[in-house]
Symmetry: C2
Subunit: 368 residues, 2 copies
């Protein structure tokens, strides 16, 4: 059975790690993109101790409200239209304001005094160059919002926080801290700051400010390039698994799979696993890709190489090390404790985030 098993206890554990790293900050837990593929309904109960959640679209915000989340919801790209701004007010969503049209909507339609939409996240472009006001436009936007009665959080986003030594980090931090000081002097001492995503939480403990915004680390992946999930004491919150559905011996010289890319150098015992890119396992993986097989009879664990091209519905693995009498029906872990999704990502020339997000609807979903 193709199965995605979500472990809410791991998410709670990882949230506690965030709190231990940033004890003085509020936590906006990112649950955008269906909670990084984990399923927002499964994840929200594990985040009860977060101060708020972050989403990318109004639809995601409304879904979280429907699921009963009654604390802060931050809409991190803000409203896309004036109609969305009105809906944000209606549902007490706290929006990012990153460009002039959003500023206009906010100044034209001011939410009630007790509305959570009175808190806005004003976005400063410090070097990511995707969105945000620049150093000429931000101050006046902030002043207008403050004068209209909004509570402000100055926010920005790192481009290279995963790589502690990247020179842009210090520049972004400096620009952010300077602007926050300026605003506190010229607009209001009550303006809050939010700088750090997961990587920033780990790499820049001096700059956590009022709100941190952890994402990937809540799900048990490492947000920085020089430490693993294990050294950061993060627990993977997802296990992606399938099953051996057939065994075969392939003769030396025979090729396996589409494109006949993998050729047996000697006779090799192979197993067919009921998983493929139609489920979300990446189609292109290198020769280091492996899975864990949990022997159906003895529950022993074996690392088995993925061989040949990943197909839509199946992969072939080398089960030479697995006792033939007990291999059929064995559970196969694509990612989970081992291999970790970050390892699989390395074999697929990407990052764990993408593998988690790009799962399809086909696998069965359970919680444990």
């Amino acid at each position: 059975m193709r199965t995605i098993t979500i472990k809410p206890a791991a998410i709670t554990h990882n949230l506690n790690q965030v709190k231990a790293l940033a004890p003085k900050s509020n936590v906006l837990a990112m649950v955008k993109a269906n909670a990084y593929g984990h399923g927002v309904a499964a994840v929200l109960p594990a985040l009860q101790q977060a101060d708020g959640i972050g989403v990318a679209t109004l639809r995601e915000a409304l879904e979280a409200r429907q699921l009963g989340w009654d604390k802060t919801i931050g809409l991190i790209e803000g409203a896309f239209t004036v109609d969305e701004w009105q809906q944000a007010i209606e549902h007490d969503i706290s929006c990012v304001i990153h460009h002039a049209p959003q500023l206009d909507w906010a100044l034209e339609q001011i939410p009630p005094v007790d509305s959570a939409t009175r808190m806005v996240w004003i976005k400063y472009n410090t070097g990511m160059n995707r969105l945000g006001f620049n150093n000429q436009t931000l101050s006046s936007a902030a002043k207008s919002l403050h004068d209209a009665g909004y509570q402000l959080i100055l926010t920005t986003h790192f481009a290279n926080a995963d790589n502690q030594d990247h020179p842009l980090n210090a520049i972004q931090i400096q620009r952010f801290n300077d602007m926050l000081s300026t605003l506190r002097q010229t607009v209001s001492t009550n303006i809050k700051g939010s700088l750090c995503n997961s990587a920033g939480i780990v790499n820049f403990p001096e700059h956590h400010h009022d709100w941190v915004r952890p994402g990937i680390m809540l799900y048990g992946s490492a947000p920085v390039i020089d430490q693993s999930a294990y050294t950061l004491n993060l627990q993977p919150a997802m296990e992606f698994s399938a099953q051996i559905i057939a065994l075969q011996t392939v003769q030396a010289g025979d090729a396996i799979g589409y494109g006949s890319r993998w050729i047996a150098q000697q006779d090799v015992k192979t197993a067919l696993v009921s998983i493929g890119y139609g489920d979300g396992y990446p189609r292109v993986v290198n020769g280091d890709a492996y899975v864990s097989v949990i022997d159906a009879v003895n529950q022993q664990r074996y690392s088995c190489a993925v061989i040949g091209r990943v197909a839509m519905d199946m992969i072939v693995i080398d089960v030479s090390a697995v006792p033939e009498s007990s291999a059929l029906n064995s559970k196969v872990i694509l990612w989970g404790d081992a291999p970790h999704v970050d390892e699989v990502a390395t074999h697929a020339d990407t990052i764990g985030y993408e593998l988690l997000c790009r799962l399809s609807v086909r696998p069965n979903r359970i919680q444990m």
Copy 2:
């Protein structure tokens, strides 16, 4: 709005192309992997003129029955357990039999005479080396099944049918045709044959046999390496689109996005598009990747390069060519008529099949 638009009329058109190419064969239309990501509920009504549908899992088979599909359903990896075999009988599913355990179940529990499960697809490994009986075991398996009252379709799967000149094609065709002749001489003249997937339908018109099994071409992608969807008169059945949500001018020398990988050589007008790998757009694309922007005011179409790293929720594109006054809120086509999903796949070092299958649940889904 992140939107996946499915065009059932295109699927019907593509099915008619299959029928024109293989006029004497029955058509088993592949709808596995949620109809290659298109959504099986949206696709089945467009396939009414197919003779059957093919799925990869029992769950997919039962879903199609629930949606009212009352013709043949072929389960292309067969039952995974004896329990699944029993359910297949219960729901009139026609199964592949590719290894000894499935043969045992079929011989131990024979479906009623009028059951669709009496028709089985016996799988012959002719060179793909994933699954199937070999040339020593197939004949006796076929004889046992025939003697037990089953109607047989001999089937196999090409490893390199997309590449007409690959030497394995002729070998696979020869092995298949030889085995089919042998079975018709030694077991029954009534044994049917099924050899061709989409690529085989296009490249090997002499070998269509009784059932063809089109997949990707139904959805409007080219199944062969030397022809495009356009030259094959196939229509893309999916449009994947989003929207420009902000505009910005990035200064010469500034970097855009994660990793600061893309650096502006001159001042450049950029747009932020509300789509990312959290929706299913591939995270890693090369410098040739582009999207189509449909100007919000004049409905003019512009090709715009994707610049910087694709993020979870957004991408940045170069909108220098788009009139600034009408760019905001413009529709952005990630794939559809142009760029075709096969083009995007080339930019992402994969095939269109994978992009279609690995869409997430986040985009809105509509039909047109």
